[in-house]
Amino acid sequence: MRTWLGWVVLAGSLWSQSAAAQVVNDGRLLASGCFQCHGTSGLKGGFGTLAGVGKEDMLNKLNNDMRAKDARSSIMNPHARGYTSYQLSLIADYFSKLPKP
């Protein structure tokens, strides 16, 4: 028979599982906007692989090489400028957790 404490632990673990799945999915959905040019799941696109790129490396590049630059000088600049910092961090986090090809 399941105890009261057991139910609390079970509910807690279900909650954390669904919360974890939610965070992963949010990053994946946002990052999927990169797939058209950088390939499905950041692999095999014509504009460079994103799967497995370190989070800090990607954020540095997005922020310093693209977001800080003139929007019209390169097609990636408006992309980096079009997301909030929080969204960019979810995107970079998602790609960093995929295995490097």
Partner: protein, 454 residues
């Protein structure tokens, strides 16, 4: 030990049908029917499989045996590229992702009772070939073109060469252009927005003007735009029209097509337009009529969502299907569980292949969340990125990131393109066209098509 996946693979779905009672199957196996295998439909089918680890059963139904890309088709019109570069199929979606492919036309979608939320009837000609039950339906039928009245008898539709749905009309227009007299006039008409691919008609005007400049220096192109101004990439197209093609292209905004004189299979014809201006209240005022004669007449008629969306009464007065931007689920009463994606849906996103691909992923993600009793992601983003050729060597680009957000004034949720650094709204276009962008256009096209069809 044989796990459940392996068990299913071994038996095949057909055997499972015989084993499991209907009600049990409906409760456990999640099924989606995707109608239309273009940029949006193919992407939705792929991601419903990929992101569910192949646990969702997906059937993709298309009337054709191949998809012919609208993207890049303007460079087939000018003969620069072979038509085969536009041809794509669904075999990689079957092979890589286990999408089930069905060739036929969806003629009915109705409540499925105890066998599933929706019953989808698929026909070939007048024969019903199969009936599919599913929990969700994704409609991606693209657009259908409005009839254009014939000048001689407005009750009769004039034959129209639009080449705005790539295929036989693309090569027909190519052949007519190639055979045009050396001093001929090519007339291109552009419908009022929203239409498929906002920069597309201006791109076509440019590459045709470029072709004429190089091959028929005595010929010219007249562009009759129902809009009051260039609707996309205004700076680059304005520059191209006035500088690159100042000698052989005439751009006339505020020209609304009223009727056409044409013969099927013949290149030439006449088009009658109203000259329309906006008054101080933004209302259209007709200032007069004009008739243009063309050796090659290329009319892009206004369009609306494809037939199945009209038949199921999913469209509103605009001709397109209103949807919840978080899931692309229809907002029409009684139609929950039916999603409309791509050019057929009514959102503030542009109607174009790259963004249609992203809308499909938003839809697939929302359906998979619904299958695990979660609500759609509240603030998805979509992006549009495209390259437009302005000649046989130069291209420009246009891009935007759209945030799904609530308008503080009206309270309405919609996709808005915002630069998060400057706060400015709207899409961004390249500073100038370049050969580098022309080269990147090829890379973009191949990447986008691989992402969509494999």
């Amino acid at each position: 030990m044989m796990n459940r996946r392996h068990f299913l693979d071994t038996l095949g779905v057909g055997s499972l049908v015989a084993l499991a009672p209907m009600a049990v199957r409906a409760a456990t196996l999640k099924r989606v029917v995707v109608v239309g295998g273009g940029m949006a439909g193919a992407t939705a089918a792929k991601y419903l499989r990929l992101w569910s680890n192949k646990t969702v059963d997906v059937t993709l139904v298309d009337t054709s045996t191949k998809y012919v890309s609208n993207i890049m088709s303007n460079l087939v019109v000018t003969g620069q590229y072979a038509p085969t570069i536009l041809d794509y199929g669904w075999s990689n979606l079957v092979k890589n992702h286990g999408v089930k492919l069905l060739n036929g036309t969806v003629t009915q979608v109705e409540p499925g009772g105890s066998l599933g939320a929706w019953k989808v009837t698929v026909s070939k000609g007048s024969t019903i070939i199969t009936v599919l039950y599913c929990e969700r339906v994704v409609l991606a039928p693209g657009v259908k073109f409005d009839a254009v009245p014939s000048t001689a008898n407005p009750a009769v539709a004039a034959p129209i060469l639009h080449a705005w749905e790539a295929g036989t009309q693309t090569t027909q227009l190519r052949d007519f252009l190639a055979a045009m007299p050396p001093t001929g006039t090519f007339v291109l008409t552009i419908p009022k927005a929203p239409y498929r691919c906002p920069p597309g008609p201006y791109e076509r005007a440019c590459v045709v003007a470029d072709y004429l400049k190089r091959n028929k220096p005595g010929a010219h192109i007249v562009v009759l735009d129902a809009n009051q101004d260039i609707t996309a990439e205004k700076e680059n197209f304005s520059h191209a029209f006035s500088v690159m093609y100042g000698s052989n292209l005439s751009y006339r905004p505020g020209r609304l097509v009223k009727s056409v004189t044409s013969v099927a299979g013949q290149p030439g014809g006449m088009v009658v337009v109203d000259i329309v201006v906006k008054d101080a209240f933004g209302q259209d005022v007709v200032m007069g009529k004009e008739t243009y004669e063309a050796e090659v007449l290329n009319v892009i008629p206004p369009h609306r969502a494809g037939a199945i969306v009209q038949n199921l009464e999913l469209a509103d007065a605009t001709g397109f299907a209103p949807v919840d931007g978080r899931s692309f689920e229809s907002t029409v009463a009684g139609k929950s569980g039916i999603h409309v994606i791509g050019d057929a849906s009514k959102t503030s996103l542009p109607k174009a292949g790259h963004v249609g691909n992203q809308g499909a992923k938003i839809c697939a993600d929302a359906i998979l969340r619904a299958f695990s009793a979660q609500v759609p992601y509240a603030s998805p983003t979509a992006n549009s990125a495209c390259f437009s050729p302005l000649s046989n060597t130069l291209a420009s680009w246009l891009t935007a990131v759209y945030q799904y957000q609530q308008d503080p004034a009206s309270g309405a949720w919609k996709y808005v393109a915002i630069d998060q650094v400057s706060g400015s709204t709207g899409a961004t276009e390249a500073r100038a066209p370049s050969t580098d962008s022309f080269s990147k256009m090829g890379t973009w096209y191949r990447s986008l098509m691989t992402e969509t069809f494999s």
